[in-house]
């Protein structure tokens, strides 16, 4: 066979390639192991020496020609192969198994616990049914005092009082301070998320059942400055690094000094709006240095040890963060509400 006739054949046959199958046939015929070009190359040693160089070069040219034809045809065919099927309308809804979600209160609780956990706090959970001792007496709240009215409680019925007094549904997560401190020695840094109960008439901002997160730290040299540091870090993580904070002296029976912590309203940046009631500040936390009487009650030496405690209402924080106006939405569990998170 001569080079020219092969070249002519390649040219004619490549024009006729119109499918992947005919392209494959072409490739096998010319570039395959037993194809034309292979045969041509194999015949070179049999040629007279002065012709070998030239034929060799021509064979290589043909090989390059064949490969470029194949590449070109491949491209052409694959793009038109796609074009043959009608493309789906990509604005149709995606096909998926609907993913569920966790409850918005869980999201907030987990976020708070996660920030504190990173700072070194251990997350501990406790019982919702507590004793009067843990809920009041141990926390320096005498049973007969006006401050107790802020802590009205649900009592369990039909029970004989145990050693800790009557059993009740805890009205705050602070009882865990008493439980944990009684069962361990300092140092400790603990965060307690939990469900609490108060017999408040239900309305848009009150629910008889709600959630709190409590935190406390006890060691040999804990100061008010540490309380500020921890709460500032927590508030910035939850609400953004540009919010301002203020610590206002307040009163809790189980801390001294006590402070309520406000953050600058993140909606109006402190100018005053509907969310913050025109004050520019939102109250989010109660805190203070643990009262020496509490230490005495749990068997810690108040001279050797000091500590701080803080607590916050989860619903309130969730309502502020997500602009939810009615606390009852959390407990109605309407799927149209839950699916937004």
């Amino acid at each position: 066979m001569d080079i020219e006739s092969i070249r002519k054949e390649i040219s004619e046959e490549s024009a006729a390639i119109n499918s992947m199958e005919s392209l494959e046939a072409f490739r096998v015929k010319y570039a395959g192991r037993k194809g034309v070009l292979a045969g041509l190359t194999a015949s070179i040693p049999a040629l007279p020496p002065d012709q070998r160089g030239q034929v060799g070069r021509q064979a290589n040219d043909l090989k390059r020609l064949v490969m470029s034809v194949i590449e070109e045809k491949e491209k052409l065919l694959s793009s038109s192969a796609c074009a043959q099927e009608p493309a789906v309308d990509l604005s149709l809804p995606g096909i998926s198994r609907e993913a569920g979600s966790v409850h918005p209160l869980t999201i907030v609780i987990d976020e708070i616990c996660s920030v504190l956990s990173k700072m070194g706090f251990e997350i501990v959970a406790g019982p919702e049914v507590e004793t009067e001792y843990n809920n009041f007496t141990g926390l320096n709240i005498p049973l007969e005092h006006p401050s107790r009215e802020a802590f009205d409680t649900f009592y369990l019925s039909g029970e004989t009082s145990g050693s800790g007094g009557k059993r009740l549904l805890r009205s705050h997560t602070s009882p865990m301070q008493v439980s944990v401190m009684k069962s361990r020695k300092p140092p400790l840094a603990v965060v307690v998320p939990g469900t609490v109960y108060r017999p408040d008439a239900a309305d848009a901002s009150h629910s008889f059942m709600f959630h709190q997160v409590e935190g406390f730290v006890v060691d040999s040299d804990i100061r008010f400055s540490h309380l500020k540091g921890v709460l500032e870090t927590l508030a910035h993580a939850l609400f953004g690094s540009d919010i301002k904070m203020r610590f206002r002296p307040h009163f809790f029976p189980f801390t001294e000094p006590s402070a309520e912590v406000d953050i600058s309203c993140f909606k109006c940046k402190g100018c005053g709006c509907g969310v913050c009631g025109k004050k520019g500040w939102l109250e989010i936390l109660g805190s203070g240095m643990i009262h020496p009487n509490v230490f005495k009650n749990v068997g810690y030496d108040p001279v050797k040890y000091s500590g701080f405690a803080f607590g916050m209402g989860v619903e309130r924080i969730a309502m502020l963060k997500y602009s939810i106006g009615d606390i009852r939405l959390f407990y109605e569990n309407d799927l149209r509400f839950l699916k937004q998170f």
Binding site: I95, S101, E128, M209, K228, R246, F251, M289, N333
Partner: protein
């Protein structure tokens, strides 16, 4: 409590404008909720914490302003103690604990009339109504000094004053005109014949000072906090007087107020102070606390000098004296009953110094990281796994009604209940999450939902088992999932196998070893759930009766509840990897026709046994019970996998084993290959 800015200035030099002063007070612990203008005056609405009854007066707030701003405190001039005289009101106090201190001042010849304008304006500013000059004076002194004062018309009293407990059947017409039955045991002020006032709470109509009064008896006393509380609770009222007594009024201040008010009345209304009878003693044991400089520094982390602390405490009414090195011996004034120790003094210094000036530091928290995941993190993981399976977490109320509990086959004797529930619907502490979850599903279906996939993790309560964590999953209704154009939608529906699928995924992803199995306890209605042979929960199909109670119908609702603590305890510390097979396996699919009551697991067991030792798995492929299958029968397709760890198997090796298994299935169940 409302405070008038102008009135405040009577007792302290103030340079700050009202709003600025309000901000300073707020940052010192007296939260000013609002500042309103009242003519040329401003009125602060302050929220006073329950431990500071001494702030329930203009004088108390003035003291605070002086400490904060350094403004000069101008204490009111208290007239001298009257000489003891005979012939005064007889006063009998039955119990010193009920009433540790009582003064009755007899003023004769008063002229009752309207109060001067300045007095009316001041009372109005603090939210009180003007009655007449005597009554207004008593209220004025209460707002100014913090001690409640009451005036009786002498002519309406028979004999002397008796401070005693009420007896059964006694009644009192209070100054609001209402006749009240008195609970036996509440403290009353009485004369010889009958009760004339509810001590510390409210006066009686018959003895109130009116236009016709000429001689009055001025009562300034201290009543026991608890007794006053019970008294006002029994009548269901709260007055300015009872509010103060409940939080604590001290005898020393009361004694001064009795002199001050008597003098004020004679100035305003004429008349002469005749006698003053005192029962009990105003002297209180002087309390002293030690304040150490190092304590302030240690707790607050601020370098405060003792001199500074001394100044602050003096301005607040304490009597600090420099003690031994680095300490102050601080005399506590009578109006600071809230001070019990050094910690309270530290707080006083801190809040006047200003919390905002205390630096902010992070503590070095020594913490050991637990090797095993803590319970909270595990429960978080469980929630996110379930969310990944398409479920939505709900949170329902933990207090439920007895009626709904009875629909879920729960032992009623095990229930714990609330003694003082808000309503009968919230009487029982939930023994199970099923009622709450079912209710939530019903609520959503009434809002026109068609498919519900929810879960809840919460505490459940029972007498025997106590309080523990429970997980409940609820599925309801059905839905058709979009699968692309011209493709048939696939159906998702609530049934037991769907519940099983979720639980299997959960157990696998949590690395819980052992098989999760469900077995009918009440065929079609209730199944027991176990893991690795241990019972961990149950699954329930909601009965028609329960659905009727929940006011839904025609939906399939299936619930599964697990003891979450028990499930979490089964989690293996770590997963073990199963090496990938080195040699390819041979697969033989087989379809068997067999009676429909033969469970799949029995068929698989027979194959695993019959085709030993080379069979490595008999996997379920399909289930068919359609037209070609005779009634009472079904077809199961299994895929049998044969492999060896040492070599690639040949067909010849597995054929006899496979046949053996087939024969066993035939013998055991009457299964045949169709």
């Amino acid at each position: 409590m409302n405070i008038s800015y102008a009135w405040l200035k009577d007792f302290v030099d103030v340079r700050e404008a009202p709003q600025k002063l309000a901000d300073r007070l707020t940052m010192a612990g007296l939260e000013v909720k609002s500042v309103k203008s009242a003519g040329s005056d401003s009125v602060f609405e302050i929220e006073i914490t329950s431990n500071r009854p001494d702030w329930l007066s203009i004088l108390g707030v003035a003291r605070e302003v002086s400490a904060l701003t350094g403004g000069r405190l101008k204490l009111p001039a208290i007239p001298a103690r009257p000489a003891p005289a005979r012939g005064g009101m007889a006063v009998t106090v039955n119990d010193r604990i009920d009433c540790p201190f009582y003064t009755a001042t007899l003023i004769s010849g008063v002229k009752i009339g309207p109060s001067p304008d300045w007095l009316k304006k001041r009372l109005e500013a603090v939210g009180s109504r003007s009655i007449n000059n005597v009554v207004d004076a008593t209220n004025y002194v209460m707002f100014e000094m913090g001690t409640p004062v009451h005036a009786f018309d002498r002519a309406a009293l028979t004999g002397g004053i008796v401070v005693r407990r009420a007896t059964a059947q006694e009644k009192l017409i209070t100054i609001d005109g209402e006749e009240r039955s008195l609970h036996p045991g509440v403290l009353v002020i009485a004369d010889e014949k009958r009760p004339v006032a509810l001590a510390g709470v409210i006066g009686g109509k018959e003895t109130e000072v009116s236009e016709s009064s000429r001689d009055i008896v001025l009562e300034v006393a201290v009543f026991n906090q608890l007794v006053v509380r019970r008294g006002r609770q029994s009548l269901g009222i709260q007055t300015e007087a009872s509010y103060r007594f409940e939080r604590g009024v001290d005898c020393v201040s009361a004694e001064k107020a009795s002199r001050y008010c008597a003098e004020m009345i004679t100035r305003l209304c004429g008349g002469t102070i005749r006698t003053r009878t005192v029962a009990g003693s105003p002297a209180l044991a002087r309390k002293t606390c030690t304040l150490r400089k190092e304590r302030i520094e240690k707790v607050l982390d601020i370098p405060v000098s003792l001199a500074y602390s001394k100044t602050i405490l003096s301005r607040l009414g304490f009597s600090p004296v420099t003690g031994s090195k680095g300490t102050l011996k601080v005399g506590v004034p009578s109006f600071r009953q809230d001070i019990s120790g050094e910690a309270d003094l530290v707080e006083e210094v801190a809040r006047i110094y200003g919390f905002e000036r205390i630096p902010s530091r992070l503590p070095a928290l020594n913490r050991t990281v637990a090797a095993k995941a803590q319970s909270h993190e595990t429960i978080s993981a469980v929630k996110r796994l379930l969310a990944g399976c398409g479920l939505y977490e709900i949170k329902t109320y933990s207090l439920i009604d007895r009626a709904i509990v009875s629909e879920f086959k729960i032992n009623e004797e095990d229930l714990l209940s609330i003694a003082n529930p808000l309503s009968i619907e919230q009487e029982i502490l939930q023994p199970s999450l099923m009622p709450g979850v079912a209710r939530c599903i019903a609520h959503n279906f009434r809002q026109k939902q068609e498919w519900g996939a929810v879960f809840e993790v919460a505490h459940v309560f029972g007498k025997k088992e106590g309080e523990r964590n429970s997980l409940c999953i609820g599925l309801a209704g059905s839905t058709r999932i979009w699968a692309g154009p011209d493709k048939e939608r696939c159906e998702e529906r609530a049934d037991f196998l769907r519940l099983k699928g979720i639980l299997e995924t959960l157990c696998f992803k949590l690395a819980i070893p052992g098989d999760m199995e469900m077995e009918w306890v009440d065929s079609g209605c209730e199944a027991a759930i176990s893991i690795g042979g241990r019972r961990v929960g149950r699954a329930l199909r909601l009965s028609d009766q329960a659905m009727q109670r929940l006011e839904v119908k025609d939906i399939e609702i299936c619930l599964a509840e697990l003891d979450l603590d028990a499930v979490i305890a089964l989690i293996a510390p770590c997963r073990t990897f199963t090496p990938l097979p080195r040699f390819p396996s041979l697969t033989r699919d087989v379809t068997l026709e067999l009676p429909e009551n033969v469970p799949l697991k029995d068929v698989i067991a027979v194959f695993m046994d019959g085709a030993k030792p080379l069979i490595s798995g008999a996997l379920f492929v399909d289930y068919y019970a359609g037209k070609q299958v005779p009634p009472g029968y079904k077809r199961l397709t299994l895929s049998c996998r044969y492999s060896s760890g040492q070599r690639t198997l040949t067909e010849e090796e597995i054929i006899p084993l496979h046949q053996k298994a087939l024969d066993m299935a035939g013998q055991r169940f009457g299964a045949r290959v169709p």
